[in-house]
C-alpha cells in the first residue's frame, strides 16, 4: 500500500501536513503527536524581522469554526533559523516553511536566507487577510500575484508553493497567474474574511475588526476551490480548509489535492493529524486502494 505523494519533487511519506499558523513549528504539538508520522510540518509564517502581530482579542469562535487576526506575529527569520529549523531537522518529516512579508523585498529576504537551510519547500503566504500591507494585497490581484511569484521563484533554491486567498471572484485566475509565473505547487485555501460583533458590548469580537474564518464551516468552499484549481492548472495542490477528519481529508484528495493540511482541527483535537493518517490507511485497506495517488482528483 503506497501512501507516498510528491509535491514538486519532494516526497511526503503520506499526504498529511499541518496548516501554517495552527501548529507553531511543531514544538507544542510534539507532546501530543509523533511528528515523525507526519508527511510534512508546515511552520507558522516567518518574516525577515520579528513582527508583533495584532492587538488582542485575536480570535473568536464562530458557528462551526473560528476567526483569527493574529497578524502574523513571528520571531523573525534569525531566531527561526537558529531555533525552529534545527528542531524540525531532528524529525523524520519534510519541512515546509511558510513565508510572509510586507513588500516583495521582505519576501525575497526570507527566501534568500532559507536558501542554504535544510528546508524542503517554501510556502508563500500572499493571502493573509489580517495584515494591512502585503499579505492579501498580493493575493487578490492576478498581476500582483504573477509579479511576486516570478520574483520569488527567481531567488528561491527550494520549490515554491504559492498560497492562495479564497477572497476572490475567480480562484482559477489566481492559480493560473501563479502557474504562469513559475510556482511549483499551490496551497489553498487561506481564511475567508469575516467579522463578529459582540451585541452585549456593541463592539467587534476581535480587536482587528475583521478576521479570517477557518474550520469545518468553510470546508465546502475549500473543496470547491481545490476542485476548480485542480481542473484549471497542472500544479500539485496542498488542500486545506476545515479538514477535521479522515472523510474531510479524502474529500480534498478526491477533489484534486495531492496533500492535505490540517489546521483549526488541531485546536479541537491535538491528535487530529495522526488520526487522519491512520484513517486514510484504513480507508485504503477497506476499499482496496493500493496507491493513494489513484484517489487524487478521482471525482470529476
Amino acid at each position: 500500500m503506497n501512501t507516498k505523494v510528491s509535491i514538486a519533487g519532494v516526497e511526503l511519506k503520506n499526504p498529511i501536513t499541518v496548516a501554517s499558523g495552527t501548529f507553531g513549528s511543531g514544538m507544542e504539538y510534539d507532546e501530543f503527536v509523533d511528528l515523525n508520522l507526519l508527511g510534512a510540518v508546515t511552520t507558522k509564517g516567518v518574516a525577515n524581522v520579528p513582527w508583533p502581530g495584532n492587538p488582542t482579542p485575536r480570535v473568536a469562535e464562530t458557528y462551526g469554526g473560528m476567526m483569527n487576526a493574529i497578524g502574523l506575529q513571528n520571531p523573525g527569520i534569525d531566531t527561526f533559523v537558529k531555533r525552529d529549523i534545527p528542531f524540525l531537522k531532528e524529525k523524520d518529516t519534510k519541512i515546509i516553511v511558510n513565508v510572509c512579508g510586507k513588500s516583495t523585498e521582505d519576501y525575497l529576504d526570507v527566501v534568500e536566507r532559507l536558501g542554504d537551510e535544510p528546508v524542503d519547500l517554501l510556502e508563500i503566504n500572499v493571502s493573509c487577510p489580517n495584515v494591512k500591507e502585503g499579505g492579501i494585497a498580493f493575493g487578490q490581484d492576478p498581476k500582483a500575484l504573477y509579479d511576486i511569484t516570478k520574483a520569488i521563484k527567481a531567488k528561491a533554491k527550494q520549490p515554491i508553493i504559492m498560497k492562495l486567498s479564497p477572497n476572490v471572484t475567480d480562484i482559477t485566475e489566481m492559480a493560473k497567474a501563479a502557474e504562469a509565473a513559475g510556482s511549483d505547487a499551490l496551497s489553498l485555501i487561506n481564511t475567508l474574511t469575516g467579522m463578529k460583533i459582540d451585541i452585549k458590548r456593541r463592539a467587534f469580537a476581535v480587536a482587528n475588526k475583521t478576521a479570517g474564518v477557518s474550520g469545518p464551516a468553510i470546508h465546502p468552499i475549500a473543496v470547491r476551490m481545490v476542485y476548480q484549481v485542480a481542473n484549471a492548472v497542472k500544479l500539485p495542490i496542498i488542500g486545506m480548509g476545515g479538514v477535521m477528519n479522515t472523510e474531510d481529508a479524502l474529500e480534498m484528495i478526491m477533489a484534486g489535492a495531492t496533500a492535505v493540511a490540517v489546521g483549526t482541527a488541531n485546536f479541537h483535537n491535538p491528535y487530529a493529524t495522526v488520526e487522519i493518517i491512520k484513517g486514510i490507511e484504513e480507508y485504503m485497506q477497506a476499499n482496496g486502494v493500493d496507491d493513494i495517488n489513484t484517489l487524487i482528483g478521482c471525482v470529476k
Binding site: M27, P52, V59, E61, G64, P75, G215, P270
Partner: protein, 254 residues
C-alpha cells in the same frame, strides 16, 4: 507524562451561587501532574462550538485523582457545562499553563470574583503564613472553604460582604501585609495590585486571562504585552496559555 486530552467522568456538580457552578471530575492522569494556578481546557459536546474553554483548577486531589473547577456561566459553552450531571463525561485537555510558584514568604492571596477559585488549591498547598483577600460583587461564594488555610478578608462592591469596595480597599482597611502576592481576578484588579506591588517592592504573581484557541502555545492568540522582548516571540508578547497564565508583576503590561 505531559498534557493529555481525555474524557473525564463528572463526579458531581453543584450551583454554589447564582450562575456559579462547582464541578468535580475524575482525571487522575491530569491530577497527578497539576499544580495550583494551572488550568484545563473544556470542550463542548456540540459540534458548532469547536474552541475549548479554559477554566482554572480550583482543587486538585491527587490521591482521589480528581479535579475541581468553579466557573461562572458566561456564554453558550459554560451554559452547556452547567447542565451536565454525574451521568455525563466531559472532554478536557490539561494540565495547561505554568501555575503559581510557591514561595516560602509571608503570603497575600488575592482573588476577585471568578478569580477566587484558583486561589483555593494554592491556599491549601502554601505552608507559610497567609492572608487571604476575597473580592465579591454582591454574592459570597467559596469563602468558607478558605477559612482553614489562613485569615480571610473580604470586600464587595456594595459593602454587604466585608469592606465596601475592592480587594485593594480591604488590604488598606485591614492593613494586610506580606512579601509575596498571588492574585487572580479581573484586569482592573490585577492592574491595581501590580502598581501596589511595584510601589511597595513586594513580589507579585498575577494570573492573567486572554481569549485562546490552541491553549498550548502554538497559535499566538492569547498574548499579553511583556515589558521585555520575549525569548520565544522576539517581540514584547508572552503567551498567556503557555508562558502564563501566571506572570510576575514586573514582567507584564496590563
Amino acid at each position: 507524562m505531559g498534557k493529555i486530552k481525555m474524557e473525564a467522568k463528572i463526579i458531581r456538580q453543584d450551583e454554589i451561587a447564582t450562575d456559579i457552578y462547582s464541578m468535580v471530575i475524575q482525571a487522575p492522569e491530569i491530577a497527578s501532574q497539576a499544580v495550583p494556578g494551572q488550568f484545563i481546557d473544556l470542550y463542548s459536546a456540540d459540534g458548532s462550538k469547536l474552541l475549548p474553554r479554559p477554566i482554572s483548577l480550583c482543587e486538585i486531589d491527587r490521591a482521589a485523582g480528581t479535579l475541581r473547577i468553579v466557573y461562572r456561566i458566561a456564554g453558550k459553552g459554560t451554559k452547556e457545562f452547567s447542565m451536565l450531571t454525574s451521568d455525563h463525561t466531559i472532554t478536557i485537555l490539561g494540565p495547561l499553563g505554568n501555575g503559581f510558584t510557591k514561595k516560602d514568604k509571608k503570603a497575600i492571596l488575592i482573588g476577585g470574583g471568578i478569580g477566587i477559585p484558583p486561589m483555593l488549591q494554592l491556599a491549601k498547598e502554601l505552608t507559610c503564613e497567609k492572608s487571604i483577600v476575597l473580592g465579591f460583587r454582591d454574592e459570597e461564594f467559596l469563602s468558607e472553604e478558605f477559612e482553614p488555610y489562613g485569615t480571610v478578608y473580604k470586600s464587595s462592591d456594595n459593602g454587604t460582604i466585608g469592606v465596601k469596595g475592592t480587594v485593594m480597599d480591604a488590604i488598606r482597611e485591614y492593613g494586610i501585609e506580606g512579601t509575596e502576592i498571588y492574585a487572580c481576578g479581573p484586569t482592573p484588579m490585577l492592574r491595581a495590585i501590580q502598581s501596589y506591588a511595584l510601589e511597595h517592592g513586594i513580589e507579585a504573581q498575577l494570573s492573567l486571562e486572554e481569549r485562546m484557541a490552541c491553549g498550548v502555545g502554538a497559535c499566538l492568540a492569547c498574548v499579553c504585552k511583556s515589558k521585555e522582548i520575549d525569548d520565544h516571540s522576539q517581540v514584547k508578547n508572552k503567551r498567556v496559555c503557555k508562558d502564563g497564565p501566571v506572570f510576575y508583576a514586573e514582567e507584564v503590561e496590563l
